[in-house]
Symmetry: C2
Subunit: 419 residues, 2 copies
């Protein structure tokens, strides 16, 4: 596909999406909920077709030598299809932010101003091998009144087409426009470039995938990007930490699941903390490779020396860098220099130290006495998430329906002219 063809394709899809978005923006919440539930029912009804399509993708993936991790992301089974359908129903049950009044002002001249939440418009989602994103991201956009243009990974194309066909059928049966959720039909990478440059036609791009995808999107995009870059999260064991809590949280923050963005990658232990050895032992016993500075190495023979780049590495694996720090300020300085503004936690019984940490550390999520693994839209009560934003504008941290809206000012007068 030539770049021009890709541009024509995306331009045409975006124009249809824009038309659909006007209808979606005006749909009552209950109609949107019903359409989503119809989509979930169609996904369930099409489970066999979806699994057959997925088998084609899996066979091709194996033939092309995809890694086991990628194959696992690609794989669907009955349980995962059911989880997809249930996920759609969960989104259908969320509060609908569209139409909410953010604030209202009555001016001395009698004008009444209201800031009202509205959908953003047309949202592009660019993602990799997980086919469930087709359903998850599509319905988050639709429920918030946005039209979606989905561009999944080429390795999942058959799965994505089957999921999209079922979802679109259900949404349309439920009364949504046929173009509410569109799937880019080609796997050509030129289509990604065309989406990134569709300024004014696509209002926001959400990349969902690894660092190289997100970096490409941020580098090339002329459309605003809601991006999630690294999750280089820290857990800091303060001198006044409860030892049992510190051990439990360090273990959970690192080892519950090592591949998620909220997993702790660096453990900072205060030199004033009484007994760091049991924490290190528990981690090593649980199969975690420890890389530490000289002080940490002296505490446990299983600790390997950390290289300078370890402090800047998001392992997404059972590896943890561990550093001894001299007090709260040194910990916060380390986080400021090496963190990725995602999620950082302090473990302490000292409320003053905790509040200073919460106020000072410049991350989307700051935590006191909790596992960084809670960094998740579901755990935050958002019901779902389209991603976790590490940017500073528009939306920060876990993003669900509200982050997919903007607002307009609605001004009601009785004939006021400006003096």
């Amino acid at each position: 596909m030539h770049g021009n063809d890709a541009t024509s394709l995306i331009t045409a899809m975006a124009a249809r999406a824009r038309a659909a978005s006007a209808t979606l923006a005006a749909m009552p919440s209950d109609t949107k909920r019903a359409a989503l539930r119809a989509g979930a029912a169609e996904i369930r009804a099409a489970a066999d077709a979806i699994l057959a399509a997925n088998a084609r993708d899996m066979a091709a993936g194996e033939a092309h030598g995809l890694t086991p991790a990628l194959l696992d992301r690609l794989r669907l089974d009955t349980g995962r299809v059911e989880a997809m359908a249930a996920g759609i129903e969960a989104v259908a049950a969320l509060d609908d932010p569209v139409g909410d009044t953010i604030n209202e002002v009555r001016r001395p001249n009698g004008l009444v101003l209201r800031r009202v939440r509205i959908p953003i418009g047309v949202i592009g989602i660019i993602y990799e091998s997980r086919p469930n994103v087709t359903a998850d991201a599509g319905v988050l956009c639709a429920m918030s009144g946005n039209a979606a243009i989905l561009r999944g990974g080429s390795e999942a194309i058959h799965s994505n087409r089957a999921i999209h066909a079922a979802l679109a059928k259900g949404l349309a049966a439920g009364g949504m426009p046929a173009d509410a959720v569109q799937l880019v039909p080609t796997t050509d990478r030129a289509a990604v470039g065309a989406m990134l440059k569709a300024e004014g036609a696509i209002d926001m791009i959400v990349p969902r995938g690894g660092k190289s995808l997100v970096a490409r999107v941020q580098q090339e995009a002329r459309v605003p990007v809601l991006a999630h870059l690294d999750g280089l999260c820290h857990t800091y064991v303060h001198s006044a930490a409860d030892p049992e809590m510190a051990q439990s949280l360090a273990l959970n923050a690192k080892m519950r699941r090592t591949g998620i963005c909220g997993a702790t990658e660096t453990l900072l232990i205060d030199t004033g903390f009484a007994d760091p050895k049991p924490i290190l032992a528990a981690l090593a016993d649980a199969g975690c490779e420890l890389r530490g500075d000289a002080g940490v190495q002296a505490l446990d023979a299983r600790v390997r020396p950390a290289a300078p780049e370890d402090w800047d590495t998001e392992y997404l694996d059972a590896i943890l860098s561990v550093k001894l720090v001299d007090g709260l300020d040194a910990a916060m300085e380390h986080i400021a220099r090496h963190g990725s503004h995602h999620t950082d936690a302090i473990i302490t019984e000292d409320a003053t130290a905790a509040e200073r940490f919460l106020n000072t550390v410049d991350s989307a999520i700051v935590m006191w006495n909790a596992s960084t693994q809670f960094a998740d839209g579901g755990e935050f009560g958002l019901g779902a998430e389209i991603g976790i934003s590490t940017g500073r504008l528009h939306a920060r941290g876990p993003v669900a329906l509200e982050g997919l809206t903007t607002y307009k000012w609605v001004v009601r007068g009785t004939g006021q002219a400006r003096p």
Copy 2:
């Protein structure tokens, strides 16, 4: 100045701004207010020096043949210096959004999540000939806890330096970091390019100026931009409009001040509206050039034929394009095709038609029975504005302190690990 030198300069300024922003973010509201008031006092005390510097800029501007309009924007006098100082005091009196809790959630597991407003960080302002922006934009950033990097037009460099010197002296005396508000010392355009590419070092760029400046910024920027592009505003006189109100609002919306972004550029008159002639007569009598379609030309001999590009032109002058439209849908369709998503108004006594207009028209500001000239942060009760955003993300319409903030998620636990 070579591009590399410009990059070094901006990198160094941004690093100082980042350090200052950490201090600013933690400053209590009253300390910020006191520092702003000290800044206002220093501006008043330095009035003679500011006026002398401005005289140098004016002389150079006249020698370089600046247009009368540009010279008027550049010109300061005692009244304008006093207005600048009073404007700073007005910002010092605004509600401080920093630290506000947007919402709070208590999860079943006992975690308490709070979304808390915080400053964005480092904000770059790129502006043209109005030297008062140095003070206005600088203090809006500082009051919202952000460090500012100001880059004004070369024609105003002496005025800007004098204003900045006084302001910075006052802010520092009031306890703000010396680098809270910095002025780019060079007039070299390479500095603008370096600011636009300072991704990660500058968090947001606000361009303040004409269309060509904003277009350049949007084209080149890698840093997120809070941009105000066109103000192609419409006033639609519905069939059920009160004739007197329609005449008063059409006149005010176009002619009160023709050079502001909220000025109406196109008047849409419903074919069902009983008596359009007095409106056209009043506008023409007030000195407004009218350009209309054939139907409008038939109503008043002073109406000239409109060319197709008139419907897409932001005149910023005493010129108005006028079109007869066949009902509400035709009016909204015209606005969708030709508008700039800034401000659009309907004049009607029919509440159903009005609500449909307010819901459907996709503009930052939609109005019912009010003059589009109210599109202004001061008139909206925001106390000031750094600009009017015509983008869809982060902030829309008039932007003041709240639009210069973002938020963080603050999570307080009691040792919760994620199951």
